[in-house]
Symmetry: C2
């Protein structure tokens, strides 16, 4: 029996592998459009795969799904480790489900491939949401670069939306440039904070506060409530220092307790207000178009630089010029001109 069971497991794996190979892009597309969660998961696996054949399929899938009109809500959520992102998303997710939305939860965490301490990696942290049929949770794709992770996540959004998930929550953690990447793929950017010892604003990463459409101070509960309310006032004052946003929205500050489920409903109401505003003033659609253009230009620039900087002969020349530039032996401008002249010569 034990023997049978063992081969049985292998057998199932074989059947599964077989089945996975057989499905066509067309079939997978229609299963996604029908909202089949397993088809969606499989499609994202294709997007994340490095195999050339998978990438071709993924490209075709994305193209099919791009054609599906959608009116989704894309929310970026950031905050340092320990701020309670998982608990917050669990509480927020339940509120959104109650509003009859389908929720997809994705993550951008370029560090996950190295540290394996991925956000969302441990799905059990969202014990209740994970059981819901209208919820789809996917941990951060692994990838050697932020660019790679960002691309995979951005294409996963398209797939989730095609599968009928009309509220996409994208979690990220305050490392490197990941916030900028997430900010450039969402409609609304939420910064989750904790009330500290009066120095909430100190040591905050440059630019993050400028990107935030809302700052929500979590763990406003028990002994911490007073400090949270004090922090709220400080953040409100700090936000006033920034110039008005292009979206016509005045960034909001609020407090919540994800643990006690207080202040969460208010966050959802704020989202609704925001989306009403940006649909009315046209920012929503122009912003999405701009984001598409941004990722196109960004990727073109990245690939162009890769092509240049990864060329072995350029690398060698560059290092030599860099050393002369550092030692004040040549003007940086002239060095750059000479290097480019070399590149053009090499290309011929």
């Amino acid at each position: 029996m034990g023997n049978i069971k063992n081969t049985g497991e292998k057998g199932v794996a074989k059947v599964r592998a077989h089945r996975k190979k057989k499905i066509s892009v067309k079939e997978l597309t229609s299963k996604i459009l029908a909202g089949e969660k397993s088809a969606l998961a499989r499609a994202i696996t294709l997007v994340e795969s490095k195999a050339e054949e998978d990438q071709k399929k993924a490209n075709q899938l994305i193209e099919n799904c791009l054609a599906v009109p959608n009116n989704s809500i894309r929310i970026g959520i950031t905050g340092v480790p320990g701020v309670g992102k998982s608990t917050f998303i669990e509480a927020l997710g339940k509120t959104i489900l109650a509003a009859k939305k389908k929720v997809a939860i994705l993550a951008v965490d370029p560090s996950s491939s190295i540290s394996k301490g991925s956000i969302l990696g441990d799905k059990t942290r969202m014990q209740e949401l994970v059981k819901e049929s209208n919820v789809f949770i996917r941990p951060s794709p692994s990838g050697d670069s932020l660019g790679g992770v960002a691309r995979k996540t951005r294409e996963s959004i398209i797939l989730c939306e095609a599968a009928g998930y009309n509220c996409i929550l994208i979690e990220t953690v305050g490392v490197g440039q990941s916030e900028i990447a997430v900010h450039s793929m969402v409609d609304f950017f939420l910064l989750l904070k904790l009330a500290g010892a009066g120095d909430e604003l100190q040591g905050m990463k440059r630019g993050i506060m400028e990107m935030a459409d809302a700052i929500v101070i979590n763990k406003a509960e028990g002994d911490n409530l007073k400090r949270a309310l004090k922090a709220e006032v400080e953040f409100e004052r700090a936000l006033q220092l920034y110039p008005p946003k292009e979206n016509g929205w005045l960034p909001k500050v609020s407090t919540c307790s994800a643990l006690d489920q207080t202040g969460i409903e208010e966050v959802w109401v704020m989202f609704l207000e925001y989306f009403k505003l940006v649909h009315e003033n046209g920012f929503w659609s122009t912003n999405r178009e701009k984001q598409n253009q941004y990722w196109f230009r960004q990727t073109v620039d990245d690939l162009l630089k890769q092509h240049f900087y990864l060329s072995p002969s350029i690398k060698e020349e560059l290092a030599q010029y860099m050393s002369r530039v550092s030692q004040n032996k040549i003007s940086p401008f002239r060095a750059a001109e000479e290097l480019l002249a070399y590149y053009k010569q090499e290309l011929k």
Copy 2:
């Protein structure tokens, strides 16, 4: 007599043109090193010239001057029009002269070539400084791009330093990216402000405050004094929101009246404190090296992009992809890959 005078003027111009042509790079270099102001002015004209022959000479000159070790002080000064930059620089310049320094005043104003309303364009705004033998004033170079203007200014710094000017003040106005350019060529970045009606911080350009090593509130005089002192407190509080700077310096806020010459000496003392710190902690030299590397990398990237984006066939392809990307007909990433594949094909 009138007749003779007329031809005489032309004759002088001819002689001057003749003399200008005859001087060699070697001769010009030694005149610069001897501190001759007219040679310095002429060298900067070469740097600013678009003629190929002049550029070659300029490159050689820069290379000669780069070899001269210097221990100069490079200060960037920014502020919106009307803040009193010229009066401030006039007052500050006199203080620096009194400290036995030679002062060169340059400007980065990419708008000057269009609007002709150049900062420093009207030298008479610094009526007293312009008469001083130890002062060299040069208006912003004209140039179609910020990159061009920045390069010319940066190379002019090298020439001024070789000519013995050991304090370089670089003025810029809050337009476009010029602050970032100036910040990347100076040791110390000073933001000049006015006390307004309590909303000093509102509407401030993103990132400028983060770059400032000091905020000096000008026109702290008469009726305005109270407001200036209030603004000082507000800016001090606002600066605390930012993370510590790499240079180990805590940005300072002070008030001054350039008109009444109060608070100017204090600015000079602050510079001395700053330079003492950054020489001691090593930031000064590593920063200069980093700035060289920055301009090298920046220029390489710019030239690389120019080579790509200015190619007519790329332009055409790019426009087509951009339109498909905007209409959600192709994923931005795939579009970028296809465009790069086309570029590599074209290059062969």
